[in-house]
């Protein structure tokens, strides 16, 4: 019997993998992909509870999350391209212009 707890654990595991990607990797493109994984983990939770409560409102919120993820990917990748044109790198360790 698969309960919502199973989906929550799967979602938490996917979330943690995304967090590890954000914390440990240096390539900013990989970091953006890890953020997409985190957003997917959130969507799994929303859809699992939508299924549990027999109401589609969770799926409506998942649609909004996907729309925001698309906007974030477009703007983020635009920033990466603009930055790469200036500094010829995608390494976040070299992105330290605003560092204290």
């Amino acid at each position: 019997m698969i309960t919502p707890a199973h989906y929550m654990i799967l979602s938490a595991a996917l979330f943690i993998i995304g967090v590890i990607g954000v914390m440990v990797r240096r390539n900013i493109i990989i970091i953006f992909m890890s953020i997409e994984l985190i957003l997917n983990a959130v969507n799994i939770n929303l859809v699992a509870f939508s299924n549990q409560l027999q109401h589609v409102v969770g799926q409506v919120f998942a649609v909004f999350v996907i729309a925001v993820a698309a906007a974030e990917a477009a703007v983020g990748l635009g920033i990466i391209l603009a930055f790469y044109r200036n500094k010829e790198t995608v390494n976040i360790d070299e992105m330290n212009l605003l560092r204290w």
């Binding site: 698969i2 595991a13 995304g18 590890i20 914390m23 990797r25 997917n40 649609v63 790469y84």
Partner: protein, 170 residues
């Protein structure tokens, strides 16, 4: 029984491909693993009875966003891999430690959820339509009309912003 087998198989593939996305050296391979991961998440949505969202996941994520990532990976010259540059001030262990802290936090939340009584699902609000896509569409155009319009404005702003950022000179 069949549902359990499907759930465990799909979950194993989702987690495997997620680990490969964050651990592979080659960025192009990482993007391709991301496509596979999104496809298996779409399969999970089908398992949960959210067919419309599964189609959106395949079309928007696997079809649109990942292609955008691939284009950027191709445009950016990765001959000098970012991982080769070693910053002595960077502490990878701290990253793992902070991730472990998030894991402990999530485990505490799950344990708390098990401790309390299971919430009884409220009576499902009767929608005047049947079928997954019809129900999602009905909610989007009635109760959530204003968020829907705001989302469309957000996408327009993101589109203009991406063009302004990526263009060499205006």
């Amino acid at each position: 029984m069949g549902e359990a087998i499907a759930f465990y198989t799909i979950s194993a593939f989702i987690l495997l491909f997620a680990v490969l996305v964050v651990s592979t050296r080659d960025t192009v391979h990482s993007v391709l693993f991301l496509v596979l991961d999104f496809l298996f998440v779409a399969a999970l949505y089908v398992l949960l009875g959210a067919e419309f969202l599964a189609a959106i996941q395949v079309l928007v994520y696997a079809g649109g966003i990942v292609v955008l990532y691939l284009f950027v990976v191709m445009l950016v010259n990765l001959k000098r891999p970012p991982e080769a540059h070693q910053d002595p001030h960077r502490r990878t262990k701290v990253g793992f430690g902070l991730s472990a802290a998030v894991l402990v936090e999530l485990a505490a939340i799950v344990a708390y959820g098990y401790a309390g009584p299971a919430p009884t699902p409220p009576a499902a609000a009767a929608l005047p339509v049947t079928g997954n896509t019809e129900q999602v569409g009905w909610l989007l155009y009635t109760s959530y009309l204003i968020p829907f319009e705001i989302a469309s404005m957000l996408l327009l702003v993101a589109m203009i912003g991406a063009i302004v950022l990526a263009k060499r000179e205006l």
